[in-house]
């Protein structure tokens, strides 16, 4: 027997432990084949057996070798708890269980000299959510009747684009007494109030990204829901840039400018304008941190789209040369507005922060009217890769900050001029319609959501540390990987179908919330229809406290 040193890594140091039942196992090998992390492997165990082969007991000892499945106690291959082994085992012989006594954070850092990185969401604070203390509590009855979610018509669209105050509209009265427009106004798109948030074709497998794009096209063309999808930083296939489906896409540019060389080269060949441009300044999951795509995921096709070699791709924490909000407004926004000849709304995405209102005020007061949307992303947003410490220990919830921004606009009589779009853990409990509706009542024009799409696709991760391996390129569901073998685990058509079905259900749910408050249009800023059972939340958000 080998001596064991106390400082050696042991399986009980790791966050997940494999429970294996040799009696049930048929050694079919499915679990080992399915585990993308090589966290389990076959091993021969020496077993001792006591037996007697005479009529009266004469205990004898026999040793024999038995093949078993065993957990690897290698830091690189630690079990992520994804549970794929359990899913594929025909005999329920294996499963991963959470190790409450894990020493992982310490041993990882001691062994590697670096902090853990992962994907997913904030795992530190996953208990109660502010939105769950809110209810739609102002129900129309008697004098203002509820509407009928099935029978009445509802206008569930939200603006993306800079909206001028009425007094600035270039409208004149013609000779026949009608209003005519004498000059152009900033472009505004009326779209579905849920945007599929910015996940790049690099963070996601090409099959996952394609599945979302297919779902968006189907929702638009077959279901009549004008859902838009944001590309994420990293460009998109040139074929799509040149196709008519580009109109469903919001192109993102972030500080790495990945993919923009190809976008710009494709511009003369575009047959449709994109739905919008989203300049990413910050991200709720890792505010103050740049983008990160590990080299493991920079496959050949990603290198081609982004025009980069195979290496870790880091977008800087800030846009280079950007030293003030004013500069971002004047240079970046003007550039992108001009690039698309002022036909495409240009919006900004920032991480919720104690300073969000200041940023918003600067933008809403800009005299050039070129900021077409304020996307506010909160701490519970997801990411494909980040330092664990950023995910867990930096950030700001988006609910109160969204409310602050809206009320700041109200105080200035500027509500609605820059549409507010909010995100960050919305739909975390599975019900995006409820979260979206509450955010809209608090002042959002719409919401955006990314992580939930992955869950629709079969993502096995959760906010209790399960899987969260999006950064490794070893996604067991084929969602966040560029390995062809793994990506093929994902059925894009099935994923697209799931997303379409979810959106159809969500659309019904939105009506089921609009109907009882008697509204046929989205109740943007109607905080009077929300109540909270939490006094502190009620006071902070300026809604009615109920008990």
């Amino acid at each position: 027997m080998e001596p064991v040193k106390i400082n050696d890594l042991a399986c009980n140091d790791l966050p997940w432990k494999i429970n294996y039942d040799a009696e049930r196992c048929t050694l079919c090998g499915s679990c080992i084949a399915a585990c993308t992390f090589d966290a389990i492997g076959p091993r021969m165990e020496r077993r001792r057996m006591i037996y007697s082969d005479s009529e009266i007991p004469e205990p004898k000892t026999r040793f024999y070798a038995r093949p078993v499945i065993d957990q690897q106690n290698v830091l690189k291959n630690y079990c992520r708890g994804c549970g794929v082994c359990e899913r594929v085992c025909p005999n329920s012989a294996i499963r991963a269980s959470r190790n409450p006594d894990s020493r992982f954070q310490v041993v990882y850092q001691c062994a590697t000299g670096s902090a853990p990185k992962r994907g997913g969401r904030n795992n530190l604070e996953v208990q109660s959510r502010t939105l769950d203390t809110l209810r739609v509590g102002r129900i129309s009855q008697m004098t203002d009747p509820s509407l009928d979610a099935q029978r009445h018509t509802f206008d569930c669209l939200a603006p993306l684009g800079r909206i001028l105050p009425a007094k600035s509209l270039p409208l004149q009265i013609s000779a026949d007494g009608k209003l005519v427009q004498s000059s152009a106004t900033p472009p505004v798109r009326w779209i579905y109030p849920v945007i599929i948030g910015d996940m790049s074709i690099g963070a996601l497998s090409w099959r996952m990204w394609e599945a979302i794009a297919m779902a968006v096209a189907y929702l638009n063309e077959e279901c009549g829901l004008p859902v838009r999808m944001c590309s994420g930083e990293g460009g998109m296939p040139v074929r799509l840039l040149k196709s008519r489906h580009l109109k469903y896409m919001i192109l993102q540019i972030a500080s790495g400018h990945f993919g923009w060389n190809r976008i710009i080269q494709a511009m003369p060949h575009m047959v449709e304008d994109p739905a919008g441009i989203l300049i990413k300044i910050g991200q709720g999951a890792k505010p103050g941190d740049g983008g990160l795509l590990m080299a493991a995921k920079v496959a050949e096709h990603i290198q081609a789209i982004r025009g980069v070699p195979k290496t870790d791709l880091l977008s800087p924490p800030n846009h280079q040369g950007l030293y003030s909000i004013e500069e971002s407004v004047q240079k970046m926004f003007l550039s992108f507005n001009a690039a698309f000849k002022f036909r495409v709304p240009v919006a900004i995405k920032v991480a919720a922060s104690a300073t969000s209102v200041s940023v918003f005020n600067n933008l809403v007061r800009d005299p050039y009217n070129i900021v077409g949307g304020f996307f506010l992303d909160g701490i519970d947003g997801g990411t494909g890769a980040a330092h664990d410490i950023s995910l867990d220990h930096t950030g700001h919830p988006s609910v109160s900050k969204l409310r602050d921004c809206y009320l700041a606009a109200v105080a200035q009589g500027r509500q609605g001029q820059i549409p507010l779009w909010a995100a960050g853990g919305l739909g975390k409990t599975g019900n995006l319609a409820a979260d979206a509706f509450k955010m809209i009542c608090l002042g959002a024009n719409g919401v955006f959501s990314g992580k939930l799409m992955l869950q629709m696709a079969g993502c096995l991760g959760n906010d209790l540390g399960r899987c969260n391996a999006c950064n490794t390129g070893l996604c067991p569901a084929g969602i966040t990987t560029q390995e062809p073998v793994l990506a093929k685990r994902l059925d894009p058509e099935r994923v697209a179908e799931n997303i379409v079905n979810y959106f159809l259900g969500m659309d019904t749910d939105l009506r089921k919330l609009m109907a009882p408050i008697g509204n046929s249009a989205l109740p943007v800023g109607r905080s009077d229809c929300l109540v909270s059972t939490d006094k502190a939340v009620a006071d902070r958000l300026q809604v009615q406290h109920v008990c």
Partner: protein
């Protein structure tokens, strides 16, 4: 549910007609008040159409405060009418000591002022009076505007009519347009300011319904104009939106319907004027109304109109004969005041139209 009514005639009408219009609908309202705005005045105010008339209900102290403020501002009184009251015991009315309708000439300083400057002066003066009277709860100033009289009171409309002798028709107290409503505020606190019709700078509005976008409307309107105050009733928002569109933005009345009850997007995109419609909807999204509503409005040029919410959740009917048009929540009211009209010409407006009665009594139906 409120009941609302309006009369517009070639001849001067006495308020008894408005009481008659509303009385038969009393099962629909709760007889908790009576309020009316009279425009295009006759009788003793007929000769003062260009001069502002103050409509005031107040205590003795309030009257002194008002007179003092107006005197200081340089307004000179040219006419005054205090209705002779008839305080029969047992009347259901919470009357104030003084009801005053006074017509004033403009201050000397206004001799060369434009109409707009004079109008701004009147509004500022009324707001100052209101603020002064509110301090000690000394009274209510409803309107201070040329050719307009407003009366609002809490109690049973029949009793209020008796108290002010409004049941007895005469030639002294008449107008060509009378809008009326017989209910005090039911959603919020009962204050006289909360009773429809509401009046601002020549615009009148009254409504039967609920404005479920009240909070949005109110938050937005509060920053649009100094006269958009009070918000004691969610229906005040309808007046302020009308005033903002028509007077402040200078947009035609037809845009009112587009702003308060926009066409569904799927219909908008089929229209040749979709750009203008979307621009209006976007910029004034917070003036959209939701909930069931019928609105009656009057413009400064004495145009009378009515329109409904986008789902037609509240009733309204327009009836007429050669000399008079009546708008009422229920047809029974019109049957009382225009019993001999051809009821087949009655109009039951739909959810997508405005019925407009211009000063020649021509009735037009505008499809949104």
């Amino acid at each position: 549910m409120c009941r609302i009514g309006a009369l517009k005639s070639r001849h001067y009408l006495h308020p008894s007609k408005a009481l008659l219009l509303m009385q038969s609908q009393q099962k629909g309202h709760d007889n908790s008040g009576f309020a009316m705005v009279m425009q295009d005045l006759g009788g003793r105010f007929a000769d003062y159409k260009q001069l502002p008339t103050l409509s005031l209900a107040c205590t003795d102290e309030g009257l002194e405060i008002t007179q003092g403020l107006l005197r200081t501002a340089g307004f000179r009184r040219v006419e005054e009418w205090k209705p002779a009251v008839n305080p029969v015991p047992g009347l259901d009315i919470q009357a104030l000591p003084n009801y005053v309708f006074q017509t004033y000439d403009y201050p000397e300083s206004c001799r060369h002022a434009t109409d707009r400057e004079k109008e701004d002066l009147l509004t500022d003066t009324r707001l100052a009076l209101r603020a002064a009277l509110e301090q000690g709860e000394e009274g209510f100033v409803y309107s201070f505007w040329p050719d307009v009289i407003t009366l609002k009171e809490i109690g049973d409309p029949r009793a209020i009519g008796t108290y002010f002798n409004l049941w007895q028709e005469d030639e002294v107290f008449t107008a060509r347009i009378i809008t009326a409503q017989c209910r005090q505020n039911t959603n919020y606190e009962i204050v006289r300011y909360a009773a429809h019709p509401f009046f601002l700078q020549g615009y009148t509005a009254l409504a039967n319904g609920e404005n479920t976008f009240y909070q949005k409307n109110k938050e937005f309107q509060s920053s649009l104009h100094r006269g958009y105050i009070g918000f004691e009733s969610d229906s005040q928002c309808f007046l302020y939106t009308l005033h903002y569109l028509h007077r402040e933005l200078g947009w035609p009345l037809s845009t009112y319907k587009h702003v308060i009850t926009p066409l569904p997007f799927e219909d908008t995109v089929k229209r040749p004027d979709q750009d203008q419609l979307l621009a209006m909807r976007q910029s004034l999204a917070h003036l959209e109304i939701n909930g069931p509503n019928t609105i009656i409005g009057v413009l400064p040029d004495n145009t009378l109109f009515t329109c409904c919410d986008a789902k037609k959740l509240r009733p309204v009917v327009v009836g007429r004969d050669t000399d008079t048009v009546a708008i009422s929540s229920e047809v029974c009211g019109i049957n009382e005041v225009l019993p001999h009209r051809d009821w087949e010409t009655d109009i039951y407006p739909n959810e997508r139209e405005i019925v407009v009665i211009n000063d020649t009594l021509e009735v037009q139906r505008w499809n949104q």
